[in-house]
Amino acid sequence: MLFSGIPFLYYFLPLTIALYLVTPKKLKNALLLVMSLVFYAWGEPKYVLLMAVSILMCYVFGLAIGRAREKGGRRAKLWLVLSCTVSVGLLAYFKYADFFLSSFNSVTGLDVPLLKIALPIGISFYTFQMLSYTIDVYRGKAQAQRNIVSLAAYVALFPQLIAGPIVRYTDIERELRDRRTTVEGAYLGARRFIIGLGKKVLLANTFGALTAACLDQGVGSVVTWWTYAMAFVLQVYFDFSGYSDMAIGLGRIFGFSFPENFNYPFISTGITEFWRRWHMTLGSWFRDYIYIPLGGNRCSKLKQLRNILIVWALTGLWHGAAWNFVVWGLIFAVMLVVEKYWLSSVLKRLPAAVCRVYVMLIVILSFVVFNAESLTAAFTQIGGMFGAGHIPFVNSLALYELRGYAVPLVIGAVGSTPAVKLLVERVKRGRVGAKIMLVAEPVALIALLVVCTAYLVDGSFNPFLYFRF
């Protein structure tokens, strides 16, 4: 089920909130679990069982690791390895089997038939959440959860189930036991949700349409390909950060505090900073569960380099089972290494604006690779951005699309910076401004909800990019 869909907004969510409010405290987790399973089954009826089995194994392994730790035995590690092998194995089978087989076929020239398994929605997200739980239990950072309903509610919690943020068990361990829904929390949650909905429906979908229009041009022009690349970067940003806003807002309504996932990444002055601001929960997951256990920075330069390459190849692969995703991850690995050992000192001396242009250039080019159907297509598209193939600098269709999307592009560019947030905060600080905002804010939120509903009723283009991950 999509957050940005009529069934969720006007059937599922009101019903869930109403039931949640009348359900006794003891049963609230059970209610959230049931509703989360309904939410998941709406999009993937046959894979509910897979998720249930995964949760059951996570529960059993968590208990086994916890007990082994209490006894101080070595078996804890054994259970952890087994747990990780099963979780990663399921992910590898359902997400990567055909990728490995087709790569194997390409290298060997054999023709091993592909399995053609449909990707279970959200498997990358809930697998990582379960891994973090068992690893944290092993590390003693979390107590093994004895109540299977609470653990299942954590893994399957519908606000963050299928597209993150990647909430660690330790983030909401306390709230799973005891949480309160307050008027302030409900309002701030609803506000965050509606803003996220607006980002998704009004901006991401609009940029998605522009991206598609540019691709439809075929050969196009230099301007076409730059427009395409910039539109796609904005689409991904507003799609994913909008979804994260909606998830965080929903969590807040139900009394959870989910971690932030985006912090205005396009104002970064370096790629290192960019990844501290973009998909923050994934970056910190890889840092804490892969990079640091591999040795992190506390090893020889060669090993550091190896660690960075492993982490970023895996980051790329996490996003999709195709070589362009691996290359996309490795582009960032290279840039992070270059910044770490050489460029950071240069960037510090340059004006922030120049640094931001550099970051955006790398990000834009990398996301062309990210969205390409193949590496060949990626090279063709990047070539098009620099006039390869003797394409014209500009054509009438490119100008037409630019004219038609000029306002959304400007809104997107400004909206991806903290400018609006800072402005609102400044207005709120003044006595008159604060009074105006008392009325203006709920009115603006209602207007945004109505406009988003209007777009959804009209049945516009409405995919979620991160569902495939």
Binding site: M1, G5, I6, P7, L9, Y10, Y11, P14, W42, G43, P45, K46, V183, E184, A186, Y187, A190, R191, I194, L202, T206, S396, L397, Y400, E401, R403, G404, Y405, A406, V407, P408, I411, L438, E441, P442, V443, L445, I446, L449, V450, V451, T453, A454, Y455, L456, V457, D458, G459, S460
Partner: protein, 366 residues
């Protein structure tokens, strides 16, 4: 502060809840503005849930049956076109009060398909006769509006050239100069009948049948509140327009006959004025096979027209010139079975009269 938050929360939740509760209002069967039936609540079965068809059907149902759907679609259109200043909304744009549809580029596959169908008809029905073959293409609004206003337009020269080259036995009659942007209904893709007089004259002259073409018609109003097909699609508040028709003594006497329904009638069908598509007033709308007999013309001259909906209002104006006109819509009858219904004489003209819109999306031709 807490009080203000409570008020804000109540305001937001009230609107949200009101909309949610409105979804329980009785469902509608059809929606006149969009001229289509609306999705109904799908049947809940184990199979439909397991294969996901219930969920996708339910999502369509909730969109279709959403309360105040009309108003919400207007809000979307207004935001897209007026606030975000986008070029079009769902492929429709508005220039000088005219709603037009983006239609570009030329779809060569579609032209090839259309040519195969039309050549097939010619070979099976007319190749061994003395029939004279003509081709006329009715340009769409885009021909007059798109390029001049900065919208992408199809290459009409390429479209016309391809059709002419693909039908070497047909003589092409150019209609582009007989129309203008004002020839069309503002809210519909079709031409107003009163704007088709010069097109009819050009056809009559082109086919050498103009000696009986008077060009003198009385203009009558059939409907004072006509909303065309684009009105509902664009969903912006636009004033209604009139639907007029042309007649004279000869046209009044014409008798039409529909092969499928075996119903006879006049050139204009007043019952259709209050149907979903009032444009069906002309020749009772689309029909596979229809004849028009003109008792005022005793020349014995016949015309066979292969047409789309644009022909509905144009062909009646040709009725003066012929004793009999056979009107065929290949979207509803297969070209392979046509021969058994056509009674061709030696004195027959054959006209392929298609709009640029249909030729560019011709896969509905049988």
């Amino acid at each position: 502060m807490k009080k203000s938050i409570l008020i804000s929360l109540v305001a937001v939740i009230s609107v949200w809840t009101a909309l949610a509760l409105c979804t329980f209002l009785p469902d509608k069967a059809s929606y006149d503005a969009e001229r289509r039936t609306l999705a109904q609540l799908p049947k809940l079965t184990a199979t439909s849930v397991l294969n996901g068809s219930f969920m996708s059907a339910f999502e369509t149902y909730t969109q279709d049956q959403f309360p105040l759907r009309d108003a919400f679609r207007s809000v979307k259109s207004f935001v897209a076109l007026k606030l975000l200043r986008q070029n079009d909304n769902n492929g429709l744009y508005m220039v000088d009060g005219q709603i037009a549809k983006l239609d570009y580029p030329v779809n060569m596959d579609s032209l090839t398909y259309a040519l195969a169908r039309l050549n097939g008809v010619y070979q099976s029905c007319f190749a061994d006769t003395n029939a004279k073959l003509y081709l006329a293409i009715v340009p769409d609004k885009g021909y007059y509006l798109a390029e001049a206003n900065g919208y992408p337009a199809m290459d009409y020269d390429e479209l016309i050239g391809t059709m002419c080259r693909g039908l070497p036995n047909a003589r092409y009659i150019d209609l582009t100069d007989t129309l203008s942007k004002d020839s069309f209904y503002r809210t519909d893709p079709h031409c107003k009948q009163e704007s088709f007089v010069e097109s009819a004259r050009a056809l009559a002259v082109g086919m050498g049948a103009d000696e009986d073409f008077s060009g003198e018609f009385e203009r009558m109003t059939a409907l004072t509140t006509f909303y065309g097909a684009y009105y509902g699609q664009l969903a912006l508040p636009i004033a209604a327009e009139k639907l007029d028709y042309l007649t004279n003594a000869a046209l009044d006497q014409c008798v039409t006959w529909n092969l499928e329904t075996d119903v006879t009638g006049g050139l204009y069908d007043f019952d259709k004025l209050y149907s979903k598509d009032p444009y069906e007033f002309f020749l009772s709308g689309s029909a596979a096979f229809k004849t028009i007999e003109n008792p005022s013309n005793d020349s014995g001259r016949e015309l066979v027209v292969f047409r789309d909906s644009y022909g509905s209002s144009l062909v009646p104006l040709m009725a003066e010139c012929y004793s009999k006109i056979t009107v065929i819509d290949l979207r509803y009858i297969s070209s392979t079975v046509l021969q058994s219904y056509l009674e061709t004489t030696d004195n027959v003209d054959v006209l392929f009269l298609y709009s640029a819109l249909l030729l560019n999306y011709s896969f509905s031709l049988k």
